[in-house]
């Protein structure tokens, strides 16, 4: 069997009194798309925040490619190839698409101690390319993200993750607040992940969407993983019984 891309071992997380994660272990192999389901408050977002460097676990370990890693902040996680798309948008509405694509990772023409002149031409060109790569059609990289629809914004977020060659793409309820048509589009992106050689974690309330687009279903309840099976070996009813 191949080395897991990422492995969580016995993670625990408290929020001042709330035990949000209880001894959670999860292994994800390269090329897999895992659907993570569970009721509100089950701890899905908490697990994701640990993987994306927003929180550190109180106990437990994370391994990538077999070696232990510490993800102290979002930068650490992004450097390790973990990219996260949240249910709210990780885009700044008042900035252009090109600028949004490179927030925190701007290409520079010249720099001292990490500060310097933006390479704006490269930002525009690469963002046009990145957006075309995910089959999104926007006329200009200079349009403000605030002018885009919710689905287009998630498309740009996905384009950003692809552009930075993330190894693990996490989508935390990316279809909340989207219309049916736009939801389908995002589900399409998720289905396309595997062809791009990406590994994914897809969180959704909609079990149908998970069964359509994922290889494996993992269910959480009250801070624990209560169910973990390949999609082909289980049914919707099966998952519901465990929640």
């Amino acid at each position: 069997m191949t080395t897991p891309l990422i492995e969580c071992r016995h993670l625990d997380k408290w929020y001042s009194g709330v035990h949000a994660l209880k001894d959670v272990s999860l292994t994800i192999r390269p090329g897999e798309v895992v659907g993570l389901v569970g009721d509100n408050g089950a701890g899905k977002s908490t697990l994701i925040k640990i993987l994306s460097g927003v929180h550190e676990p109180d106990k437990g370990q994370i391994l990538m490619g077999g070696a232990p890693v510490r993800l102290r902040n979002p930068k650490d996680a992004m450097r390790a190839g973990i990219e996260t798309i949240y249910q709210y948008n990780s885009m700044v509405p008042t900035m252009s698409i090109a600028r949004n694509l490179f927030i925190g990772r701007e290409p520079l023409k010249a720099s001292v101690f990490g500060f310097g002149l933006l390479d704006q031409e490269r930002m525009r060109q690469e963002s046009v390319q990145a957006i075309a790569d995910v089959d999104l059609h926007l006329r200009s990289p200079d349009a403000l993200v605030g002018e885009l629809s919710g689905g287009q914004r998630q498309g740009v977020a996905i384009a950003r993750a692809m552009h930075f060659k993330s190894k693990l793409l996490i989508l935390d309820e990316p279809t909340n607040h989207l219309s049916v048509k736009e939801t389908d589009k995002v589900i399409g992106f998720v289905k396309g992940l595997k062809d791009q050689g990406l590994t994914g974690i897809f969180i959704s309330h909609n079990m149908q969407h998970v069964f359509q687009s994922c290889d494996r279903v993992v269910a959480m309840a009250r801070g624990e993983i209560v169910f973990d099976h390949p999609v082909t070996e289980t049914t919707l009813e099966d998952v519901h019984e465990h929640l």
Binding site: P93, G104, R139, L148
Partner: protein, 352 residues
Amino acid sequence: MPTTSSQQTSDVAQASASPGRTRAPHATKRLLKIYLEKPELAGIVLLVVLIAIFEWRSDGVFLSTENFRGVLGILPEVALVATGVTLLMICGEFDLSVGSVFALMPMTAAIVMSNGLPFWPAVLLGLVVCAAIGLVNAVVTIRFGIPSFIATLGMLFMARSLTVVVSGGFPPLLPDEIPSWIFTQFIGPGQLFRMSFLWFIGIAAIVSALLSLTNFGNWVKATGGFLDAATSMGIPVVWVKTTCFVICSVLAGFAGLIQVLRLGSPLPSIGIGLELQAVAAAVIGGAALTGGIGTIFGAIVGALLIRVIDNGLVLSQVDANWFQFAIGALTILAVVANAWLRRMGRRIRVGV
């Protein structure tokens, strides 16, 4: 807040994408697009109109060299404060203490000079005091999670009080040998500008370039535009905000120094109400109170508008007490117009 509001607007955008929605005429769309990209444009148009009116009402005195020299002499002081305040507003914070820092910096410098410290070290010391005040503003705001509006309101009183206390009731005289000409000397065609104008243009250009041409500027806009997104993209938001607080304070102090050198003596009462003029200038120039939007150029246009109105009303022999009314009305108008235009702009989704 930004989460839900942006989600709602995108819902609105979708809802209006259905057939039968009201379509804005093409020309309106074009205008909106221009406005969204250049929010200071409306200010420039207004400026031109007002200059024309005042020129006419004052029988040509308004644009005379002597009068314009007066306007341009004060402009750098107000506009430098507005530049700092705008930078801070773009990153999503607010500073009400700039008017007090404006007085405290030159007072500090004058006192250490009267105790024998040379000019430049005294200026440096004054600016360090400003930086420290900016740092305190940042720490109180960020560490304790207090709205910067309140944190810096406290600092407004404290810094003003400090200014009066250190002046000891008798403001020190500025030494004769200091090189004030570096800021006050008249230069240019018709001796139209003071040297301070060059300092101001240079500094404004640097801050403006910082905002639009560097990665730091990108972080400032992201931090103010949507804090959660900036944080999740790994931007050091605490550091970015702190830096903006410090720059804002230092610019306010520097502007105060320029005014004191122009007037020739450090009064503890200068700069009262200046914080509100600076905010008004930023807002009139298109900056949003919610952060993420605004330009330095806009703030300068706003500051110039305020100076022009002040001066123009006097020359048109209107009761000077109408000045505050005019600035107030203009500020409200600008905020309402900006908010309305932005809503419109989102709804019809121009040019995507």
